[in-house]
Symmetry: C2
Subunit: 305 residues, 2 copies
DNA sequence: TTTAATTGATCAAAATATTTGAACTATGTA
DNA sequence: TACATAGTTCAAATATTTTGATCAATTAAA
């Protein structure tokens, strides 16, 4: 119960339709008209269906002919796509590449890279996800993604390629009208205890959850990204550490105020990371591009001038 | 810039994978193992890509091989589908058949028919739409559908096949607690004027809109189907004529009360209708099935016992 | 209207492509 | 170690496709 449809026959049908005649199609396909006749008659015979109406001299597609032509074109496109995809895969380009961006990172420079990549390699499908804190290491480890941009701290296990982007400095910030702003600095940890803390919920699902480094036993407001955390603290819903470069404007405009604490928090190192087993050119390309970037205390991730 | 992929090669690849060996695939395809070798080597050569890892005795698919296998299977399915579709189309079955059911009709018997049809002809795609009043004639005329079930009255122009199902009797009904129930019957048209009328909005878009036959110049509540009209009248939002068979239960349960009017409304004839140019077996099948049904004053559309 | 040009079909011969079967190599198994 | 199995290679056999010449039906041009 095989289908007698052949890629070659579909290609012939397509050429006949585009060029409006058997003769022109023959020319396009570097064949002789009788060869085209043969190909079509064969398909008609095998299929048991008339594809052209021969009552006139000028062969016209029948309804079924048109159906096969139109659906057949999709099959042609699919095989051509598949060929291209196979060649790219063979050359080492991934079919799919999943990038995970930690919510800490400013996305704009990454979007620029992605745009560049898509021009270079339009057939590699890119998937972006956002994770926070340990979540990105976890996504990498469990093969939910191939590349992490903005992984914080050290890898939780072996087998990762890693490139240090820089340090993120965290500052303890509160909204301008917050009662803590009236207190004498440095502020004791004791005093902070009275206000709820905004924490970014770690999206880790498989690796042991890592703490955000904030003090325990207080009321918390959990949010899912740095953006939300910044917004929550501006509204005065809570207090907490924020990456300095992400709140530069807010500090300048006075929406947030930086406070000195009795106990300061050391800067965290952030990196890009990938699995050592990732040999695809896509991952390599992104890594080599990102190696040329630095993470700057003031401006976040960017290409150095 | 042609793709060297061949349906035959994809089929061979598929057989090798399913049967776990070149030899078994050869058997399945009624060929000799060396022919299978040849087909695969040719594809590999034309594609310039290794599909099997021959480092061991047992040939194993490479990553690219697996890609071509998996995507190729979809192409195989598509060509087989296309073949089947072409044959059915050639035999006179539609690829797509659009049926329009007037909201007046009780749908259950139509759904039964549809289920039967899908078993008989699973490759004909059915599309159902619902129209009201003249909307169904309009949909037929403008080729938005191929068959109307429940068209009301006479065709607005030539060129339609038509089969009368029966008469629909309309009764003037109001909710049980409606003030009109306290009045002496028959009720004058004058008295009705005081209450809003629920009208089903004609969904016609191209043909001249036909009136619902209700009296003009009063406040109206427009709804989009009979179901909504019934619901609205039960709630006492308005009054109006309803098809008797659709509100049998509501009358028995006392949710709606039938009122006698000074001026009675004559029953409307309803039919199935199709374009005379429709020669497809699908339309013919539905017509012949529906010819065996009648539209009964009490139970609506049904197969006679 | 007649003529010339074009379109597609048909057919035998020629050119290609595929399949076969025997011989061979490598690998895993008894 | 010998044996069986899996896949490859190669020349010969077979099948398929392409070609080129010829024909009939249309259409365009003279």
């Amino acid at each position: 119960m095989y289908s007698p449809i052949t890629i070659d026959a579909l290609r012939t049908l397509d050429a006949i339709d585009r060029r409006r005649s058997f003769a022109a199609a023959a020319e396009e396909l570097y064949r002789v008209p009788s060869a085209i006749s043969y190909t079509i008659s064969k398909l008609e015979e095998d299929l048991g269906v008339e594809l052209f109406d021969r009552s006139r001299r000028k062969a016209e597609l029948t309804a079924v002919g048109r159906l096969i032509l139109e659906q057949g074109r999709q099959i042609l496109v699919a095989t051509e796509e598949l060929t291209a995809l196979a060649k790219q895969t063979d050359e080492g380009w991934e079919t799919e590449l999943r990038i995970c961006i930690d919510s800490l990172i400013n996305c704009e420079p990454v979007y620029d890279l992605i745009e560049q990549f898509q021009k270079l390699q339009p057939r590699t499908e890119l998937r972006l996800t956002e994770e926070v804190l340990g979540g990105s290491w976890d996504a990498l480890n469990s093969e939910q993604c191939d590349l992490v941009i903005g992984a914080e701290g050290d890898p939780p296990s072996q087998g990762f390629g890693i490139h240090l982007l820089g340090q993120v400095e965290f500052v303890f910030a509160v909204s301008a009208s917050h009662p803590l702003t009236d207190m004498q600095q440095p502020i004791s940890l004791q005093a902070i205890q009275d206000y709820p803390t905004v924490v970014v919920t770690d999206s880790s699902r498989y690796l042991p959850v890592r703490s955000t480094g904030l003090l325990d036993g207080r009321s918390r407001i959990a949010v899912s990204s740095i953006e939300h955390k910044i917004a929550a603290q501006i509204r005065g819903l809570g207090v907490g550490y924020l990456p300095k470069f992400r709140i530069k404007k807010e500090l300048e405009e006075g929406k947030l105020k930086q406070l000195m604490l009795a106990e300061t928090r050391s800067p965290r190192s952030i990196s890009i990371a990938w699995r050592n087993t990732s040999k695809g050119k896509g991952v390599q390309w992104f890594v080599s591009q990102l190696r040329q970037m630095v993470f700057d205390q003031d401006s976040g991730l960017q290409r150095p001038k």
